[in-house]
């Protein structure tokens, strides 16, 4: 329930308390006095609780160079976000930016991937970053026990990982510390705008706001319609295997295999790079994941799986982020992306201040929903 100390009208209300909404709300604390986050209960689809935790660059942006640039920019801001969160909340989100690799099994994969990287980085709008094809021996220096089947790996120094659950927790502790109101069980059912003010109807209360941010993950399509934003979504399932904790062995992550700060191993496929079975959930997929992981690092044969899960990726139809202020309902912003971990720093430190100002920078124009709609005149 909204308590008596709550202002009659919030400056900004963020709809959705996943990683995207939380990062934005956190970033708004400097530019808005009264901020609230409305969230659903545990029934919601929540990619933020089921992801792989990569802060990743090298597979992003094919088909939209601006996305590659925005992603790289976010990873450069990440150390600042991690340091801020540690200071404010005492939670170390375990950011590691030691570089990252895509394992290549066989010459065909090597050829295809090198050509892909060259095409990716030649696109207009891309920001350049160093990358290298490591041969087996070079890769084995980074990965003790690398399997003989690994012909090589594409390596970049710009990739990394974070502990995604600690990140979500840190952001929510930050809400408490900075006076951001977090209201769970406040799923927004309808949005109305009257006299420059939004009224959000939830099952528990009507919440009023001068500005709103739609960050409700897969629900953004439905809410967007209510403020004149037409966003075609295409959810995509992803699966993850978690192995038991062991002493730390792997400090340079692969896109599909990493060991987290506390020793658990995660095997999964990161959406952009899923050259195999990335949108089905079947045992053969888990088997394929496990098989590739064991070929990459044979010692994992001895390490037990403790659980597996699947989660739905929040994804616009073309796979790129969406940021826009509604033309018909000024003051209503939308934010949707499928790499909410990687982009958390950009959302907190770049996007949120723009929302605070009330204007998105020109730099974000390529991410508007206009790209989905063919002009009819």
């Amino acid at each position: 329930m909204v308590s008596a100390t709550t202002p009659a009208v919030f400056d900004v209300v963020v709809i959705g308390g996943g990683l995207v909404g939380s990062a934005i709300a956190y970033g708004l604390r400097d530019s808005a006095e009264h901020v609230a986050v409305l969230d659903e209960g545990d029934v919601a689809l929540r990619a933020s609780r089921g992801n792989f935790g990569l802060v990743w660059v090298q597979s992003k942006g094919m088909g939209m160079g601006d996305y590659g640039r925005w992603t790289l920019g976010s990873t450069r801001l990440w150390p600042r976000l991690a340091a801020q969160l540690l200071e404010l909340t005492g939670v170390d989100v375990a950011l590691e930016q030691n570089g990252g690799m895509i394992p290549l099994l066989g010459d065909l994969e090597v050829e295809a991937r090198v050509a892909w990287m060259q095409r990716l980085l030649a696109q207009p709008g891309m920001a350049p970053y160093p990358w290298k094809l490591l041969d087996h021996h070079e890769a084995a220096e980074l990965v003790p026990g690398l399997g003989p089947e690994v012909t090589g790996a594409i390596w970049t120094p710009v990739d990394g990982t974070v502990n995604p659950l600690k990140l979500l927790r840190a952001l929510h502790i930050a809400f408490d510390r900075t006076g951001i109101r977090y209201l769970p069980h406040h799923g927004v059912q309808s949005i109305a705008q009257r006299g420059g003010e939004f009224v959000l109807a939830t099952a528990k209360a009507k919440v009023r706001a001068r500005k709103i941010v739609l960050a409700s993950g897969l629900h953004n399509q439905v809410l967007g319609e209510q403020v004149g934003l037409h966003l075609p979504m295409a959810p995509q399932r992803g699966q993850i295997l978690v192995l038991e904790r062991t002493r730390r062995l792997l400090t340079t992550p692969f896109v599909t295999l990493r060991q987290n700060d506390e020793g658990s191993w995660l095997i999964g496929d990161s959406q952009e790079d899923a050259g195999y079975a990335d949108d089905v959930v079947t045992l053969p997929v888990l088997a394929t994941l496990a098989d590739r992981a064991v070929r990459t690092l044979p010692a994992l044969k001895e390490v037990r799986v403790v659980r597996s899960w699947s989660a739905l990726r929040v994804r616009a139809q073309d796979g790129f982020p969406v940021y826009e202020q509604s033309a018909t309902h000024p003051g209503a912003f939308i934010a949707t992306c499928h790499s909410g971990v990687t982009l958390a720093a950009a959302h907190a430190l770049r996007l949120a201040p723009m929302i605070g100002e009330g204007v998105l920078a020109r730099e974000l124009d390529p991410f508007s929903t206009r790209r989905f709609h063919v002009q009819k005149t």
């Binding site: 003790p144 026990g145 038991e244 904790r245 062991t246 002493r247 062995l249 506390e262 020793g263 010692a299 994992l300 001895e302 390490v303 037990r304 403790v306």
Partner: protein, 102 residues
């Protein structure tokens, strides 16, 4: 210290199985899980956590909490609650995370 339920008295006729726990012989009841045997034998903690090193012992007794990890016959990360005692088993307290041979 845990005590056995009276209802389990009938089980007392069961054969004794001997395992070694950190070098000392522990007499267990045939059919016990290793975790039950450890608790009945007075060791409440069988491992130190991988993250903070704090001691842990069997908690859920049904395979989900992983707080009962021990080394059995040289293999680390074995769940004591999911492992029946076996004559001659060599059990060790597990300190921290197991190692993966690379």
């Amino acid at each position: 210290m845990f005590r056995r339920l009276d209802a389990a008295a009938t089980e007392l006729s069961a054969r004794t199985v001997r395992v070694t726990v950190d070098g000392a012989v522990l007499a267990c009841r045939e059919g016990d899980s290793l975790a039950a045997a450890l608790l009945a034998g007075g060791s409440n903690a069988c491992r130190d956590t991988a993250v903070s090193g704090s001691p842990r012992g069997p908690f859920c007794m049904m395979g989900v909490c992983y707080d009962c990890l021990v080394t059995i016959d040289g293999r680390a990360n074995q769940q004591a609650c999911m492992t029946p005692v076996r004559e001659g088993m060599v059990v060790g307290r597990q300190s921290g995370a197991r190692e993966v041979a690379a």
